[in-house]
Each structure stands twice: as structure tokens, then as C-alpha cells.
């Protein structure tokens, strides 16, 4: 019966030793006690002796490699033509069942709102490539759950020399937004002019009552939009499958330009606040955006949005819809003093009449409920 010669443990602290010599060849006869090779640790070199007389029938390790203590180096047989015993079944620890998706594939399935059995696997396991291939084949028209760009990459570099620059997080976010709008939304745009006087008076009165240094006008208009969304759930919705998905909370997106960076800040659960709570929270978030101190939760998950370019005196701007939203209000004041309220909307969710109606209501403050405020 064949016997095996193992890599010895030289001290308790080394689980591997280096095989530095193996002085036998297949077929060679060795005597019991003959030195057949040497192993080394960083402290010592130790001879390996044959435990019995026999013929070398198998060499299982290479010189100058690290070998595990206890692993087989050499097989000795009783005769030169004995065969090396079949290796004992090696314990394999539970791996992933064959056919199961890789973790990356699972992440992608979740992102696209797919299940594993919808997507065919090219190999044993469902891979990220399988999922991407499936999504691309469907024209990317799956219910995307977390707003990552789909099929926006052009992997071949242009022929003109240049350098690739990684995108900042806000730039990546813009790519996501544009890609979603291109691939999923069916955007329309409507605008109307309005008389600024009632809003200016209301904002001035509010500022006086709350002793504010800066005009709260835009925050108050955004709050009015939150109130309107509360009245009309379709404004705060998106399109999933063949149905309208009305959100259970109103997360107000509000654009803030901080230096070079354009943030779409998100005030979550805005509908749980009151007017002054909203204005304060909005002020806080704008201040922190200016200081680049927002946390990720404040930069994602908008369900309806408001954007003003009044400070740049443009006559019109047509915003791109943030992913999974149906309405973004665009406010502008042109150089000749025209005040404009516009809206980009997802025509799958809203029609023009609903949008015009909303803009008309937004063009002046709500009738103030003084009594309610006085009781606070």
C-alpha cells in the first residue's frame, strides 16, 4: 500500500513552509530514513526523511513553492508501478448553488425590478452580463427602481486623443437623470406668465412676521406646491408597469446651485411639516448645500420638484425631470420683468389641463388662514 510523505510542522507559528529541495525522481527506490528533500521556515531548514522503504510513485509539490503544513509532498509505493491512490474527497464548503445569480446580478435584478427566472443565464450562474444583456434587449424598458443609467455607456474611445476623467457624484447624478428622462419619461412642457405682486406681498409679510433677513419667496412657493400635491395625488406620482404609482410621501426636490455644483436637494416627508417648519427646513438644507455638507439621503428620492432660475434673469428654462417623478416646476423672471411659471411633466402621468390648473393655483398664494396661525 502506498504511503504519503507530508510537509512537516516546524514550529507552531508557521502554517506554511517553503520546499527548497526534493531530491528524488519518479520510479526511484528510497530506503527508510533516506533524506528525500528539505523545507525551510525563516528560522530553520529541516530534512524530510522517508518513513519507509519504497518506490517514488508521485511527486505532489514543486520546489521553491510554499506548501501547507501536512500537505502531501511525495507518494511511495511498494512497487514502482503502483498507482497513486485517488485523492480523498476534498471537503468543499457550501458554495452558491449552481444556477443561482451572482450577487452583482441580484443587485441588478433588484435595480431593474426583475426576478431571476425572467432572465436566461448563459452559463451555470446568472451573471451581471446576463441581466444587462436582457435589459438592453428589452430596450431598457424595465421598471427601474433606483435610477442608475441604463445603456448610456459608449465604451469605444473616440479617435481624437484625450483623457478620461471620472465624474463627481453630482455629475453622475445628472447623467442618471438625463438617461431616465430619455429612456422612460414622455416629457411635455407648459408655461404661463403671472402677476408677481400677490406673492411678493405675501413673502414680505411673512418675512416681517418671522423677522427673516432673506426673502422666503421661493420656499413659500415650493410649500404651495407641496400643498397642491397633497390635494392632487397624481402630481406626486410616477408610472410603473401599466399603472400610475402615487407616492405615499412628498419628497420635495429643490435645485440649489453651489458654486460649480448643481444640487437637487430633497426635503423628505415635506407634507408632514407646516408652512414655517417647511421654510425653516428648506433654509437649513440650502445653507448646508452651499457648504457641500448634505448627506446622501438629502440628495435622492425626490417625488416632485421645484426649480427657479430667477436670479439669472432667463426668460425660460425647461428642466429635465428627475427620475421617477411626474412634475418639475420651473420658475423664471426675464430681464424685462416678465414672471413665468413653467413645468416639465411626464405626459404618461399628467395631461396639459392638470398642469395648467396646477400652475394657475401656484401663481398666487393660498388664502392665508390667519385664525389657524394665531392659535399656534
Amino acid at each position: 500500500m502506498a504511503v504519503s510523505i507530508h510537509a512537516p510542522r516546524i514550529n507552531n507559528n508557521d502554517d506554511q513552509v517553503k520546499l527548497i529541495a526534493l531530491d528524488v525522481a519518479i520510479g526511484q527506490k528510497v530506503d527508510r530514513g533516506a533524506v528525500i528533500g528539505q523545507v525551510e521556515t525563516d528560522k530553520a531548514v529541516v530534512d524530510i526523511e522517508a518513513p519507509a522503504e519504497g518506490y517514488v510513485i508521485g511527486l505532489q509539490a514543486e520546489v521553491d513553492t510554499m506548501v501547507e503544513v501536512g500537505s502531501i509532498l511525495v507518494w511511495l509505493g511498494e512497487s514502482a508501478d503502483e498507482v497513486v491512490p485517488a485523492a480523498a474527497a476534498v471537503e468543499t464548503r457550501a458554495g452558491q448553488a449552481s444556477g443561482a445569480p451572482t450577487a452583482k446580478a441580484r443587485l441588478l435584478l433588484k435595480r431593474h425590478g426583475l426576478t431571476a427566472d425572467q432572465v436566461p443565464a448563459a452559463g451555470e450562474r446568472l451573471t451581471a452580463e446576463d441581466v444587462e444583456h436582457y435589459v438592453a434587449g428589452k430596450g431598457g424598458r424595465t421598471a427601474q427602481a433606483s435610477g442608475s443609467p441604463v445603456a448610456t455607456r459608449i465604451d469605444r474611445l473616440p479617435d481624437v486623443p484625450g483623457a478620461l476623467r471620472p465624474l463627481r457624484p453630482d455629475e453622475r447624478g445628472m447623467v442618471n437623470t438625463v438617461s431616465w428622462s430619455r429612456d422612460f419619461a414622455v416629457p411635455g412642457y407648459i408655461e404661463l406668465e403671472y402677476d408677481p405682486q400677490p406673492w411678493d406681498a405675501y413673502a414680505k409679510d411673512y418675512a416681517d412676521r418671522h423677522r427673516l433677513m432673506l426673502s422666503p419667496l421661493l420656499s413659500l412657493m415650493a410649500w404651495r406646491l407641496v400643498e397642491l400635491a397633497r390635494e392632487t395625488p397624481a402630481l406626486n406620482a410616477t408610472h410603473v408597469g401599466e399603472q400610475r404609482y402615487e407616492y405615499g410621501e412628498i419628497n420635495l426636490g429643490f435645485t440649489v446651485q453651489a458654486g460649480e455644483t448643481l444640487y437637487l436637494t430633497v426635503l423628505r416627508n415635506a407634507d408632514t411639516l407646516d408652512e414655517s417648519g417647511f421654510v425653516n427646513a428648506q433654509g437649513d438644507i440650502q445653507r448646508r448645500a452651499a457648504g457641500h455638507r448634505l448627506v446622501p439621503a438629502e440628495l435622492q428620492g425626490a417625488t416632485i420638484s421645484f426649480s427657479s432660475m430667477a436670479r439669472w434673469k432667463v426668460s425660460r428654462h425647461i428642466p429635465i425631470l428627475p427620475p421617477h417623478t411626474a412634475l418639475m416646476v420651473a420658475h423664471a423672471v426675464s430681464a424685462d420683468g416678465r414672471h413665468v411659471l413653467g413645468a416639465t411633466y411626464d405626459h404618461r402621468v399628467l395631461n396639459g389641463f392638470q398642469v395648467v390648473n396646477t400652475l394657475r393655483k401656484l401663481s398666487k398664494p393660498a388664502v392665508p388662514d390667519r385664525k389657524k396661525e394665531n392659535t399656534q
Binding site: D14, R93, Q96, A103, R106, V295, P296
Partner: protein, 663 residues
Amino acid sequence: MLFPIPGVERNEHGKPLIGLDDASLYAFGHLLRSTEQLILDLFSRGLLSGTTHTCIGQELCQMAVVRALDHEDDAVLSNHRNHGHYMTYSGDFLGLVAEVMGRKAGVCGGYGGSQHIAYRHFHSNGIQAGMTGIGAGLALARKRKDSPGIVTIMVGDGTLGEGLLYESMNLASIWNCRVLFVVENNGIAQTTYTSETLGGSIEARGQAFGLQTWRLNDADPEFSASVARVVAQVRESGRAGMLVIDTRRLGPHSKGDDLRADDEKAAIAARDPLAAIGRRLADSEREAIEARNTVFLARIEAEALASPEASFDAQRLHTFSPVSTTRIGSLQPAKASNVRLAINQALRTLLGGDERVLLIGEDLHEPYGGAFKVSAGLSGDFAGRVISTPISEAGITGASIGLALDGERPILEIMFADFLTLCMDQLYNHAVKFPGMFEDVKVPLLIRTPAGGRRGYGPTHSQNPENLFVSVPGLTVLFGSHRHNVGQLLVDAVQRWPNPTVFLEHKLLYGEAQDPADYELVAASPEDQGADLFPTLRRGADAPDVTLLSFGGMLPVVERAAKQLEEQEELAVEIVAPALLAPLPRGTLLDALLDRPRIVVVEESHHEFGVSAEILAMLAEAGFTGQVLRVGLAPVPIASARSLEREQIPDEQMIVASVLDLI
């Protein structure tokens, strides 16, 4: 502020010069007693901060040894009952009274109170026997500088029950240095008589350790002169000694806890050695002394009352001294054939570059060469500076603190990190308290220790105890890996980081090649203490699906798990590996982690309440919204059998499975 004491001259350091004549002894002894009575009176009037232990009845006992210390390097390490020692050492009556009152004029600005006083070479602390090892270290430091200074260590008979005292007596004996252990034997603890708590004889304890031993009685008329001869003999012999003084406590232990019978108290009063000296004086002389002491103390009381309440000029939020710019010797190479050699080379650089560097620990000498042979070859090349010690982890930690306090740079090796618990009192109550209380005091002590499992060493030789030590305020905990430049971490920790530091080395990494591979430095946030010197590393995807945060011996395991997740699960994996665990580089880690989608902290230690908990709490407080998970050791002892140990300590399969569960 030192006020002139009537009838008493001072030396150049302000120490009172007290004669051996009856009038001088009575004058100072009476002043001690009157001050203690003033303190008790202030206590009754609600003007004291915390507790106090007076030496009423033991004045001569407390005076005699300190009085005889006449070299400027002489040190006094005292205990909870320290007022007599302190006043005799410093002559600073206002400093003491204001300190116990918690006033700004206190000798420690109100930080120490009655029990924790530091002034020149005087230190006291409320831990019984806690400073005795430190005393042995201070004495060794004096010996290394050829100073004849004596370190006196004051203990009561109650302290004879503490084991560290005996470790310290042994160290002082084998190191042949000038330590005088003074046992003030008043026969009673707080309320329990020593006869019920002490086996054997007190002097025999000293004799057993080879100390020259004396026993004196403070009621002996020649007592103070005899004590002076003992001190002179310790100085002359250059050896350690033990002096037992029989004395009696006239007052309570602290306040309101004197339960002794009236006739016993009457007998103690009749024995009162201070009163006996007073009776030897003419009435008129005695009354004149008492009258002038009364006037002096009235002034002290008025000054103390006039001093404002103690307040912080600026409250410190940490106690770490800044990085020093001094670097001695060349930089350590980033790559090394293994971590053991990298550390050995760093120790060689440190010893070669600075005479103050000492290696202290068990079995450091050739041919053994220290735990895991990390200090191999050093004892021969640096004779006298590689010190193999008795098996006394607490004692040698204390001694190392003493050496560090006196300007040496001790590097202490604890054979297994599991044994650090024996050093805990020395770290928690002493090493961090000196720099913690006094901004200008530094304790540049470094403790190296091998940690970790997967060796089959079992429950008490396999642990990663960093979770205990990161919570000690003011203690630095470093745990490098084979991806760090471990040698440079060690050199910088000793040369440029003058703070008490625990330097963990994982046993498994000693044989690993030291190689930064594809890791890069994470930019250190300027607000993080030490983060630049002890960097955090990272490798892997810039937009990872999962971030594995790990350190020390867990890193090779985490790398294998990452490989599996990348190759088999197609995940983008990032590894973040700090070396500095405390003070935690919070800003640095937040900058690196806050926008990550999933963070898994992997550690080998018992991780409940540990490093991972702190890191994840920090992320939660900062508004982290991703997913988190901890992988570590359950709160159970580590088994010896390798098969059992494998099931307990996280391996790559456990990490992979945890990540997959999370996703």
C-alpha cells in the same frame, strides 16, 4: 504660592528644613495636625470637594521619612493618606487646603483633590499599591543617570494585601536601585483590624525579597533620628529597603467612619507621640509655637476661601500630545520579507538611534529572543538596554510608566495580548492619568504585544483585546497589518507620538510578507489626532458595491473574501484598513465611507461594544443611509481545538456569506 512658615527655613525648592530638636519637630508636627483639623472643619462646613483622609496621630510617622530626604532627585510616591507627606515635602499649605476645597489656588488647580497630588517629584494616587511599580521604574531611571536620588513609596498596612506591591518589591530588589518601601502600620484599615487581614510578619515580607528591613515605632523619642539614619543607609548602599513604622491613627479613616471603642481611642490618645514631644517643651515655648501656627493657618484659610472655584481655561476634549517632528534614523522600508523582520529592524533602529530607548519584557534575551522571536539578536547588540524581567505584567508596566515619566523611552513587550488585562490598572488609572490631568506631563510608553487566534492556543492566548483598550480615555491603540509599513508605524509611535500606546501585532502576520500591494493612503482629515502618522489604507473599486472595513490580522482573510466576492459574485469590493483604532480617525473614515452603499466591518475580537460598534455608531450619527453589518467573534471563549476555533473566528466563507445575506 508659598507663604513663609513661622520658624521654618526652606531649601531652594521650597522644601521645609526641619531640625531634629523637639521644638522644630513639635512646631511642624503641630502645624500638620492643625491643618488637618482645619480641613475637617472645612468639611463640616460643606466647603470640601469629595472625600479626605487625614493623618492625625500619624504626623511624626508621615514627617520623618520625607523630612530626611535631602537630595533634589528624591521622590515621594504616596497614597490616599498623603497630606503629611505632601506638606513636609513641599511646605505648600495653601496649595493643599485650596486643592481639597476645589479652588483655583490648589496645587493641581482642583483636578486632583485630596488623593491625587502631583508636585515636582511628589505623586499620590487613590489606588492601593498602584504607584509602587512606577516607583521601581523611577528608581531605575535614577540609577541609569547615576543619580543618588531615593524613591520612597508610602503604603499603609492595608496595602500589604495588594499583589502589585510584591511585584514591585521584587523588581526593586533585582534592579538594585534606591527604593525605600515605607509601611505605615497603624493596625487598622478603614474599620477592619490588621490582625484579621494579615498573615505572617510584615518585615519577613521585605526580607523574603532580599530588602534591607527595619522596624521602628513613632512613639520612640529617637524615632525621627533613627529614620534619618535609615534613609542615609539606603542612599549609601544603593539598594532597596523596607521600613516598617508602628503608628496609631488618632482620627477616623476618612470622615464619620471611626467605630473604635472609646477606651481604645483613649489609649491611642495617651500614646500620642506628638503630644509627648510637646510635653518635653516648656509651656511658654509650646504655647508660643501653637499661637504662631494659629496665625499662619488663619491666613492660609483666608487665602483659600478667597481663591475662586476651580475652572478650566479651555476644557480639553482629548489628552493627546501632538506629533513631534523629531525623527531619528532612516525611514523603514515599505516592503520586508516578513512582518517579524520589519519589527525587529525597527527595534534595532530605535535602540541604535536613541540611548533612552529600552526594551523591557519577559524572556527577551538570546537565545529565546522574546515572544515569537521578534527581538532576536538585540540583547547582545544593545547590552543593558534589553531587560528581561520577572513575570510581573502589572509591575513592569508600572516600572515602564516610571521610566517614561523620567524621560526614558521604554518599549514594553507583553508576551500575549491576553495578559494585558494584568496591566489594565496601570494603564487605566495611571499611564493616562498623568498626561490627562497635567498638560505638560508626557508618558511616552509603548506596549508591544502579539494578539489573535487561529493558532490553537486556546481561550487565554488567542484573543484580540483591542475592544477593551480603545475605550480607555487617552490611550492610543494601534493595530497595523502586513499592508502597512509596520516598522515605520512602530518607529513613529516611539519617536514621534509621546503618548501611552498599545501596539498590537497579530501572530498570524509575523510570517507574512510586508507589502503594500495595490493599497493606497486615505487622505487624513486634519482634525484627526495622529491620523497622518498612522495612516488608513484602501484598495479596490471607487464606486464599490460593498466596502469591507478591517484591520490587523483579519486583513489577509478579508482579502481572500474580497477576491471571492469579486471573482465569483462579480461585486465591486473596496477594502478600508485603518491602523489607528484609538483615537479613532473619525473625520478620515467619514470622508472615506459616508457615501458608500454597504459597509461591513470585520474584526477578530469580541466585537460587542467594540471597535466596529463605535465606527458604525459614528456613521449613524453622521447620517449614513446605506446598509451596515458587523462580522466578529461571538461573546464566548475561543476554543483550543483548531476545528472548533475555525468555526468561531470569522473566515472568508463567513464573510462572503454575510455579505451575500446583506445583499
